[in-house]
C-alpha cells in the first residue's frame, strides 16, 4: 500500500494465505513467554498490569473526569500489531464485522490438524491471586440475554457529533459485545471476553477492538479527525509512547482500513 501503510481488512475478506500468515504470527507469539509474547501483551489490559482505560469516572487524581477508552485501545492494538509483525512481517490485524456472529476463522478448533491459535490461547499467570493456568474459554451468546449490534445501530452512532457522547455510546455497545462473546455456560462459568481481567487473552479480542477502532475512524471521517476535547490532547496513554494527539490520525500510525462505511 502507498507510503508503507498496512491495510487492515475485514476478517472474512482475508485470503487463505493472509489468514495463514495471521495464524502463523499468533502461534509464534503464543509460544513466547517473555515480553515479546502473547501473554505479556494480553496482560497489559487486565491481569496483571491493568493499564486499560474503560468508562469515565469521578475523583480523578490528575484533573477532570475523562475517558480515554478509544485512544488508549488504539495505541494498545497498534503495539500488539507491531509485536505480531515482529513474528511475521506480513501479518496485519483484521477487524471483526460483528453483525454476522463470530467468523469461522476464530471458531475452527483445528486447522490442518493443528490447534487454531485464533480459537484460544493459554493464560499463564502463576503470580495472580488466585493463579491462572488454563486455556481461554468462550461461550458466545450462552447464558446471557444480549445480542450483537445491528449495522443500523452502528450507523446511527455516526450522527453523533460530540466526541464524549459518541465514545460513551460506542463503549456501551462494546461492553455488550464483550458480554455476548464471553457468555456464561450452563455450569455458571464465565467466558474470558466477559471481564476486563482476562478479555485480551481471547484471540478474538484484537479483532473486536480493531472493529471498535474502525468505527471511531469512520466517525472521524465524518466529524473531524481532531474532534476531541482540547484537554485530552496531551494525555499520555501509558504504558505506550503516545499521547492522545499522536493517535488521532491512523495514517500517521501507519495503517488504513479497507472499507470506510459500516
Amino acid at each position: 500500500m502507498a507510503d508503507g501503510l498496512v491495510l487492515r481488512k475485514r476478517v472474512d475478506a482475508l485470503s487463505a494465505s493472509e489468514l495463514a500468515v495471521l495464524r502463523n504470527a499468533y502461534a509464534k507469539m503464543q509460544a513466547i513467554t517473555d515480553n515479546r509474547g502473547y501473554n505479556y501483551w494480553a496482560g497489559v489490559h487486565g491481569v496483571p498490569q491493568h493499564y486499560c482505560w474503560h468508562h469515565s469516572s469521578r475523583l480523578p487524581r490528575t484533573g477532570p473526569s475523562l475517558n480515554l477508552f478509544l485512544p488508549w485501545h488504539r495505541a494498545y492494538i497498534k503495539y500488539f500489531e507491531l509485536a505480531l509483525r515482529d513474528q511475521d512481517p506480513n501479518a496485519v490485524l483484521p477487524w471483526w464485522r460483528w453483525y454476522g456472529g463470530i467468523p469461522a476463522a476464530f471458531t475452527d478448533q483445528n486447522v490442518d490438524g493443528s490447534p487454531n491459535p485464533l480459537y484460544r490461547a493459554r493464560i499463564s499467570r502463576p503470580n495472580a491471586n488466585p493463579p491462572i493456568d488454563r486455556n481461554t474459554r468462550r461461550f458466545p451468546g450462552q447464558g446471557v440475554s444480549l445480542t450483537l449490534p445491528t449495522s443500523g445501530e452502528i450507523a446511527r452512532l455516526y450522527d453523533i457529533t460530540q466526541f464524549q457522547q459518541f465514545s460513551n455510546r460506542l463503549e456501551d455497545i462494546h461492553d455488550r459485545i464483550h458480554g455476548w462473546t464471553g457468555g456464561i455456560n450452563a455450569r455458571g462459568v464465565g467466558g474470558d471476553m466477559g471481564v476486563v481481567a482476562t478479555a485480551a487473552y481471547d484471540p478474538i479480542f484484537w479483532a473486536h477492538h480493531c472493529m471498535i477502532d474502525r468505527v471511531w475512524y469512520v466517525w472521524q471521517l465524518r466529524n473531524g479527525v481532531n474532534n476531541i476535547p482540547a484537554d485530552y490532547m496531551d494525555r499520555i496513554l501509558a504504558p505506550f509512547r503516545y499521547t492522545v494527539r499522536d493517535v488521532l490520525n491512523i495514517n500517521a500510525l501507519g495503517y488504513e482500513y479497507a472499507v470506510a462505511t459500516a
Binding site: 469521578r58 487524581r61 456464561i184 464465565g190 466477559g194
Partner: protein, 161 residues
Amino acid sequence: MQGINYTSRPISAADIPVEDVSRVDIEFEQVDDSGASFEGRVFLNNPQADENTEPDPENGYAGSFYVFGHGGCFGDEGHCEVDAELERAHDPYDPRRSHPRLPVDKSVEATEAVRRAASEGGEITVTVVPVITGLTEQTDTENVFKHDLRPRIVAYEMETA
C-alpha cells in the same frame, strides 16, 4: 442471573422539565465496575422489576446501560481497594493516573419513558436491575452496586430540522 436491585429515592415529577425538550437522559454516578459485568436495566416506578420483567414501556422500562466489569480482584490483599481520600488529594508531583477501580458514570437515553412517568405526576423512582453478563470465580454476583448511583434526570432542548 441477577444481582440485587438498586432503587433511588423518590424524585418529584414536578422537578422534571419535560415540556419543550427533545431528549431526556438518566445519568448515573458511582457505578461499580470492579466485579461482574452486567446489563443495567432501568425501570421507572417499578422497584419490583427483575430479570424476568419484560423490558417494555408498560413495565416502566426506560433503557439499559452495559458495564464491562473487571471480574474481581486477582492481586494481593488491598490491590483493588480505592482510597477515596488519596484520590481526592491532588498532588502536582504525582503523575500517576487515578485508581482504575474508581466507580464510573453511565447514562441511558430515556426521553419517552421519562415523559410518560412525569405526565402521571407524583413521584418517580429509578430502579436498576443488574443482569449478569460476565463473571469469574472472584466476583460477587449479588452485591453489584456498592454505592448510591445518584440518578439524575437531564433534559436537553435541541433544535430540530
